[in-house]
Subunit: 191 residues, 4 copies
Amino acid sequence: MSRQPTSNRRSEQSRQAILTAAAGLCAEVGYAATTVEGIAARAGVGKQTIYRWWPSKAAVLLEHMERVREAQAGFPDTGDLRADLLAQTSAVQALFGGDLGAVWRGLLIAAQSEDVAAAGVRALLEQAISDAKERLARAREAGELRPDADLDMAVEIIYGPLYHAWLLRARPLPEAYMKEVLALVFEGLAG
Amino acid sequence: MSRQPTSNRRSEQSRQAILTAAAGLCAEVGYAATTVEGIAARAGVGKQTIYRWWPSKAAVLLEHMERVREAQAGFPDTGDLRADLLAQTSAVQALFGGDLGAVWRGLLIAAQSEDVAAAGVRALLEQAISDAKERLARAREAGELRPDADLDMAVEIIYGPLYHAWLLRARPLPEAYMKEVLALVFEGLAG
Amino acid sequence: MSRQPTSNRRSEQSRQAILTAAAGLCAEVGYAATTVEGIAARAGVGKQTIYRWWPSKAAVLLEHMERVREAQAGFPDTGDLRADLLAQTSAVQALFGGDLGAVWRGLLIAAQSEDVAAAGVRALLEQAISDAKERLARAREAGELRPDADLDMAVEIIYGPLYHAWLLRARPLPEAYMKEVLALVFEGLAG
Amino acid sequence: MSRQPTSNRRSEQSRQAILTAAAGLCAEVGYAATTVEGIAARAGVGKQTIYRWWPSKAAVLLEHMERVREAQAGFPDTGDLRADLLAQTSAVQALFGGDLGAVWRGLLIAAQSEDVAAAGVRALLEQAISDAKERLARAREAGELRPDADLDMAVEIIYGPLYHAWLLRARPLPEAYMKEVLALVFEGLAG
DNA sequence: TGATAATCGAGACGGTACGTCGCGTCTTCAG
DNA sequence: CTGAAGACGCGACGTACCGTCTCGATTATCA
C-alpha cells in the first residue's frame, strides 16, 4: 500500500502505531466513525505521516489486513475436502466475530465507493478465492466434487451463505453454522 | 419512513422529487457521493424539507426501495419450487444490475454504520426472506426440499452466492448464473 | 468588506462577536499569532462564518478599523492650524498606544503581503491623508502654510515622524512628542 | 546573527548560497511567501543547514542586510549638512526601490512579531540613527541646526516622511523627493 | 373570504473532518 | 563525520457537508 515500496527513511515505529490504532478504532467505534485525525491522535502521529504513506484510511486498514493474512497458513489440505472446508470456513466465521471482522467489514464498505479500497479488497478476496479454488480443484480430481462443478460458483456457494448471514443479516450464528451449511450444499437441498 | 405518515399539508410533489433525485444521484455518483445538499439541489427543494420528513439520506433511499417493493408481486408459486426460485432470483439479479441495484448497495453500506438504515434494511431484507421461507416451507411440505432443512439457512444458501458475486466480488454474471447455482445447490456439490 | 453589502439573513450578533474577538486577540497576542481558528473559537462561531463574509483575518480587522473610523469626528478645524494638528496627531498617538494600535500595526503588516489588506489599508490611509490635506489646503489659503507647500509631502512630514517612532523604532514617546515635532517642522530645523 | 560566529567546519559556500537565495526569494515573491524550505531548495542545501546557523528566515535576511551595511561607507561629512543629508537619504531612497528594499521591508514586518528579528532590526536601525545623530550633532555645533533641536526627533523628521511614503503609502516617489522634504523641514512648513 | 398556521425554498449558522502546507526537529546515508 | 535529503510531530489553513436554525413567501384549511 505504501507509495514507495520500502523507503529506508520511513519510521517503522510510526507505521506499526498507525496500523494498530486504525484497527483498534475500527473495532471500537466502527469504520464510519474512524477518522484519519482519530487514527493519528491515537497513534501519537501527525496526520501528514499517514497521508505521506497511505492515500486514505481504507488503505491503512488494507495494509493491516494484508499483514494479518501474510502471517496465516494457506488453505488446509488433509485429503478430506469437507473437513478442510469446515476448518477453514469456521476459522473465517470466528474471525468475522472478532476485531478483524470489524476491519474487514469496514473495507467491504469502503470498496463500494473508493477505487483504492476496491482494488485492495478485490486482491485480498481473489487471493483467498484462488486458494479455495485450488483446493477444490484437487478435490474435484479426487472425485469429492462433481466433475462439472464451476469452481468460482462453488466458492460462492460455500462462502456466500456465511457472508449473507454475517454481513447482511448480521444475525448471531451457531458455532456449527458452517457444518450444517456444508452438509446441505454437499448433499443438496433436495435431499 | 416519514415521521408523520400522512400530513395533509405535505407537498407530494416535493416528496416525489426528493425520492427521485436521491435514487438518481445514488445511481449516478454512488452512495458516498450522494449528499443531502445534493439531493435538495437536484430536487429543487430546501434541505429542511428533507430533514422534516426523513432523518437521513439513507431513510430517503429506504422509502424509495419500499415503494418499489410495494409495487411488486409477492413470491411466485407455480407449484414448481426450482422454477419459482429461478424466476425470483433472476429478477433480483437483473435488478442488482440496474439503478435500483446502486440504491440497494448504498443502503447495505449505510446499514453498517447507521441504526436507522440498519433497521430499515433489516426490515426489507427479513420481509423478503420471510416470503422466501414461506414458499420454501410449502415446498418442504410437498417434498421438494429435505424435510430437515433449516429454512433460514436454505435462503442464505440460495441468495448468498448471488450477493457474494454481486456485492463483494462485483464480477459480471452470466444471465444463467442463478440457474446453475440452483442446480448445484439442489443436487449437491458432491454430485 | 462584506461580499454582499447587507444580506438580511446575516447574523449581526456573529458579526459583532467576530470583530470584537479579532481585535481582542490582535491586541493580546499580536497579529501573527491571531489565527482565523482562534477568532472563531473566541467568538463562539464556526470558521465558515468568517470565511463566508471575509476573505482573510486582515479583512476582519479592516472592517473593525473602518467601523471605529466611522464613529469618529472628522479633522478638527478651529481656525488655528497648529492647534488642530496637535489635537489630531496627539489623538492618533494615543490611539497607537491602545488596542487599536495593535490592530492597525497588524494591518500595516498584512498590507505588505496581501492585496486585500493593501487595498483596505490604502483606502483608510488615503482617507485620513485626504482629510488632513483638506485642512492643510484651507490653512495654506489662510497663510498659515507656505504657499508653495506640497500637501502630500506636508502630511508625510507631519505624520512620518510619529510612524517612524511608533512603528519602526517602537520607542516610548513623551506625551508632548507631537507638540515638539510640530514646533520643529513648522519653524524649521535650521531655526 | 550566526550562533557560532566562526566555526571552522562551516561551509562558506553554503552560507553564501543561503544568503543569496533568501534575498533573491524575498525580492521575487515577497517576505511572506519566502519559506525556509524554499530558501533551502534554491540554495541547494538541507533545511538543517539553515537552522544550524540561523534561528529563522528573518535572521538570514538580517545577516544579509548586515553584510551589505558593512560594505558601505559611513555617514558623509563634507561640512554641508543639507548636502550630506540629501546624499545619504537619496541613497536610502534608491535602495528602497531595489531588491534590498524588499529585504528590508520583510525585516520590518518580521520585527513586528519575532523577537530575534526585532532585536536585529533595532540594532541596524539604531546604528543608522546613531550615525545620523553624530552628523547632526556636529552640524548643531556648527550652527546649521537649532541649538535646542532634539536629535532623535530630528532624525525622525528627516527619515519619517520617506518611510511613510515608501512603506505605508507605497507611492512612487520623484527622484527629488528628499530634496524637497529637506527644504521644507529645514526652512519650516510655515515659511 | 380573509386569518392563521404549517410548509415551502433558500441558505446562514455552529460544528467536524478533510487533505495540504510549512514549521522547527530528528534521522539516514552518501561523499 | 559533515551535510543533502527528507521524514517526523505539530498546528493552521481554507473547503465540504453535516444537521439545526431562521427567514419571508406561499398555500390550504377553518372562522
